[in-house]
Symmetry: C2
Subunit: 397 residues, 2 copies
């Protein structure tokens, strides 16, 4: 589908020699023609990167004009100098679009413990500033500028009409978790031309993230740089969203985030399967999510599915150590729709048939049901392959 | 070193056709000539196997005479029939040594969801009963009978003298976590000819396990069958242990368990490194252990070390999401003795030199220090290799 850029936004992605491969973009600049409401959701890691510290201190905001993104260096574990570099990077981006130094946010991903090459970043921001555009080509260039070991760029888009006003919601993201050699991070940037008050934008983004990026993992290693930003510049016109209109927007925002989260999990390093885990019949959404996360992060479950092995014992036993109380005799498991385990008892099934269904489909569906209540949740992850090990065991220091 | 069997114990290991490979033992029988105090520590998995249910109900005890062990089938997720099979297996072992049906315990490891081949197990117990011996050969045969995908059998031994009485503590164990294709479990059996009251034995085993098997992981997947048993038959003579004598015994018992835990981690499936993680300067032993466990279970840390990559960012960031509060500026990291990160700041180091030290040693030492207090702990794990993925992705259903 065609992905369009919301009104009032301009963007570009360029190569500024942070990455060795000159064909790869490593710096993106996104500009709002008018001050935008900005919200952010950040890593919970105690060891968080300088860009996270800066953006945290500037969101929510009602006056953000630019976001500068660099890939290749995470600016994490870089102390005071890292904070000064992040501020300077933001200042350069703001100046490039005629805004005040503090009207910009920054995103960085890449090597931990290295300082930003400020000269290259300055040149990159200047180069991007003269290339700013609103075409899908500009969007894709910006989306490519945030990638590290991702194999494909990730964008998602929804168009909706609220009170007769057409609104665009467009998101871009990059690889989840700490996937590459020394690489950190999942980054997400959602743009909309809807009018939303900063605090409302913050609440909407938090809700959408809870249903999407927080329901996704690749290797379970929480990075130092995880950040999702939402910019809403109101360029579409109309009153600030509230009530029913806000609910409509929330639904679209969540859908965009879910699309991006699934794209990230499906592009997990070395992944050959996008695994969706649906957990139902739980006492609370939190417990259902904890079980789903535990199953998703089990190397044995991930390797079994990579091997197209309907190894249900690994799935049921992973649920068993999630730290969530449940009746083992109430557990039912389906894999790609095949019933393998019912009310705590093994079910006769055709292993070859189930194996073939796993091997022949990139999408794999695990459905776990319990007898504790009616709460449920979904979680996405990738399988664990020898390629993941190879990519992450390569010597890069 | 020579490993001797404590007085009053007899054992054997045989092949009874549970495993396809006729060269592999799959059934072991351990007998105490007199009723022994028996203690057990079991998996915390909600989905626990039938043998765990049976042993739990029979320990602590003052009258155990036999332990029957089978490998190849875990008797997990097998419902009522699984419980009956476990009881029958125990009965056969008890009868084989002239004891009452309820004077035996059982250990099983292997495929989840399959029922025990009771005919083969009956024949195996009979075959083992006529082979019972007290030589090191018998000990090794019994230790081999509990293996699944382990590449080497694991035994440990200490001799100590308490009040002039020589006491033997001898342990055997098998592969940690859920390591093999469909295989479950870490199993441990510790034998001693010391005289110990059941409740005291239970307390001693719990303490030793806390310092050893609970400080070790391979893939972080808690199995349905994990069990460690301690049998103390008092054949060495002397009064039941108490006070200083008990403390001396506790030290030896913990040492035996640590030897076995390290052997298990070092023999992790596909492992090329035994990784020891020492975490210090924490507010409590629990928090230090939580940080160590989180670092140990990070696929990125495990793959980096497999690749001899001194990728300290992965280690520091893993500590950051352990859920334990600490001052990031108080973190110091050493890898194989090399200082890589000090008080939250990167340290210049020779990457090639550190990489070579990792590549050239099977033992790898991670030392993380914090500024929160004086509590510390150790944790052992294995690296993550493509071989681990290959072994676990192979189709086996």
């Amino acid at each position: 589908m065609a992905v369009s850029v919301p009104k009032g936004f301009l963007m570009a992605g360029v190569h500024c020699r942070i990455k060795r491969d000159r064909r790869k973009h490593d710096l993106s600049l996104v500009v709002s023609e008018t001050p935008a409401s900005a919200a952010g959701v950040y890593t919970q890691n105690l060891v968080y990167a300088a860009p996270v510290a800066l953006d945290r201190s500037r969101t929510p905001s009602d006056r953000i004009r630019a976001v500068a993104i660099c890939s290749g260096v995470a600016n994490a574990c870089t102390g005071e100098r890292g904070l000064r570099d992040a501020e300077e990077m933001a200042r350069l981006a703001a100046v490039a679009c005629g805004a005040e130094p503090d009207q910009a946010l920054v995103l960085s991903t890449g090597v931990i413990g290295s300082f930003l090459p400020m000269d290259k970043i300055g040149q990159g921001i200047s180069a991007a500033a003269v290339k700013l555009g609103r075409s899908e080509t500009s969007l894709v260039a910006a989306a490519r500028g945030m990638l590290t070991t991702d194999t494909i760029y990730k964008v998602a888009h929804r168009t909706l009409t609220i009170d007769g006003v057409e609104i665009q919601v467009t998101g871009m993201a990059k690889g989840a978790a700490m996937m590459g050699p020394n690489m950190a991070t999942m980054l997400g940037l959602i743009l909309t031309d809807a009018a939303i008050a900063p605090q409302v934008a913050q609440a909407s983004l938090s809700t959408a993230t809870q249903e999407s990026f927080n329901c996704m993992s690749v290797d379970g290693h929480m990075s130092t740089n995880d950040t999702v930003l939402l910019l809403a510049n109101g360029a579409a016109g109309g009153k600030p969203l509230a009530g029913e209109g806000l609910a409509t927007f929330q639904k679209a925002l969540t859908e965009v985030c879910v699309d991006l989260a699934k794209a990230i999990a499906g592009d997990g390093e070395g992944a050959t399967h996008l695994i969706t885990i649906e957990v139902g019949g739980c006492a609370s959404r939190e417990t259902s999510q904890e079980i789903a996360r535990t199953v998703a992060n089990s190397p044995l479950v991930k390797t079994a599915l990579h091997g197209a092995d309907p190894n249900w014992g690994r799935i049921v036993s992973a649920a068993g150590y999630a730290g969530v109380p449940f009746d083992p005799n109430g557990v039912t498991l389906r894999l790609n729709g095949f019933l393998l385990y019912q009310h705590g008892t093994p079910v006769e099934f055709n292993g070859q048939e189930v194996s073939t269904s796993i091997r022949d489909h990139r999408d794999t569906l695990i459905q776990l049901d319990f007898s504790e209540g009616s709460a449920s949740s979904r979680f996405w992850t990738a399988d664990l392959t020898a390629e993941y090990v190879r990519l992450n065991a390569d010597y890069h220091t």
